[in-house]
Symmetry: none
Subunit: 252 residues, 2 copies
DNA sequence: ACCAACGATGAAAGCTGCTGAACGGCAACT
DNA sequence: AGTTGCCGTTCAGCAGCTTTCATCGTTGGT
């Protein structure tokens, strides 16, 4: 790799991270320590970054440019934030991940910003939050745009989902009972079932208020899901219910 | 391969990458190192790129996509507004209309806001502009999201377009010559051809600067289009060219 | 149709500047 | 104070740059 290309890629890497250590840079760029140091020197002269002991920190605009819409409009609760961070930790670089709509999933998406992923989503807010990131390759499902939830739905969406395979699905849900997962919004159910069908691993994110209350439209039985991420206020009976059904339960 | 063709293809290659090394260019263009160097020299003089050790970096590279989109929409905005208004007048309530990306088409979309329509688009900016309107039913195509132009492209997009029929297509274009319509952005051509295929009536919107200059990738012959909407500065020879090919020409 | 002039092309030569490894010094931590 | 890890410097090796030149195809003129 040539010097100019390395420097461009370093700049790109700083778009999603505000600190990078030398070892990571050497590995990612497949270059020697010396060369990376020289690159960092040059970029420091250009005021792109500041060299610090062990690596460099970004001098550019704060990295929270992406997803500032979420802070403004949705105002994520602490719980959702913590759930998001925990769920994002389950995702590894290089995976293909499906994200459905919903504010809890948006909290996960925000935490995924630093990873290198291929993301498939039917949610416009999530797409808008991730589209500027160079480390994320983004594919939208298409379909009828529900103006209320800003998600794409319907036969076109389902048909497109049927044509892909994903490592992991991260999905929000309206309610969880012993009968399974269900939703109150009729329109999204078809797409969600298709998402479950094409994903290798299914992760449900849901705060504790979603448990016990009855949903209208069944989405999937408990057996369809591999992992549920919720918060510490989840009643033990539900933890037991999920675990006896072979579901991994994580509490943020 | 001729020098001019090589240089055009180099410009094209920089649409999807911001750095290209010499070896890659020689291989892709099937030309000697010397010739590629000479091409790069010329393109550097034209401020298209900057030569650097080991290759060249794009000078068009807009780090902020919002910026160059803004620039493009400000440029010629008067003309585009008028074209938009005129083209929107061709659309009747109740139709299904496909809108492709591009700032001229966005100008049409603004003028469509008062009509009752079913709109299909692969453009995120257009979708964002129309999604809140109750009189517009909006369907997105899906596909890979090109972060630079904020349009959805690729096989998923084309597949979805193949599954629909529309009354009218409104499309922007890179260039118009007697050889037909063409574009400089390779990626969008596939989707645009599919759009033409499934639309009953094809309307091209293009200000006069798009005429005569050579485009790289052919999109469609003149015969594929029914109406062209341009501005009053369009040279008479091009008006004749279009009319003798049976195309309706409207000047805003 | 032929030939000369021109520009474009690709190979070779010599030079420039980048690269990675090695070494010694310095900062942080024990 | 000792150890570990990081930094800056130096230097040989080589990849890439510029220049030059022979060759080829094209153009324009006779």
């Amino acid at each position: 790799m040539k010097a100019a290309e390395r420097q461009l890629r370093i700049r790109q890497m700083f778009e999603s991270r505000d600190f990078l250590d030398l070892e990571t840079l050497c590995r990612e760029l497949d270059a020697s320590e010396s060369s990376v140091r020289r690159d960092l020197d040059i970029l420091e002269q250009e005021k792109i970054l500041r060299r610090v002991y062990g690596g460099a920190v970004s001098l550019q605009a704060p990295p929270s440019r992406a997803f500032d819409y979420a802070v403004e409009s949705v105002r994520l609760s602490d719980e959702k934030d913590r759930i998001g961070r925990l769920a994002a930790g389950l995702i590894e670089d290089g995976q293909t991940v499906i994200l459905d709509g919903g504010s809890t999933v948006a909290a996960v998406a925000r935490e995924l910003a630093t990873k290198s992923l291929h993301i498939v989503t039917n949610s416009l807010p999530i797409a808008e939050g991730l589209e500027a990131l160079r480390n994320i390759e983004l594919t939208l499902t298409g379909g009828y745009l529900d103006p209320r939830h800003r998600v794409m739905l319907g036969p076109f969406c389902e048909q497109m989902l049927g044509a892909i395979r994903a490592d992991t699905l991260i999905m929000g849900i309206g309610s969880i009972t012993e009968a399974g997962f269900s939703n109150n919004n009729t329109l999204v159910v078809g797409s969600e079932q298709k998402m479950i069908e094409v994903a290798g691993k299914v992760i449900i994110v849901a705060d504790h208020t979603k448990f016990g209350r009855g949903g209208m439209i069944p989405v999937a039985p408990l057996s369809a899901v591999h992992t549920v991420v919720s918060d510490k206020d989840l009643a033990p009976e539900y933890i037991d219910l999920l675990r006896t059904n072979g579901i991994e339960v994580l509490l943020a």
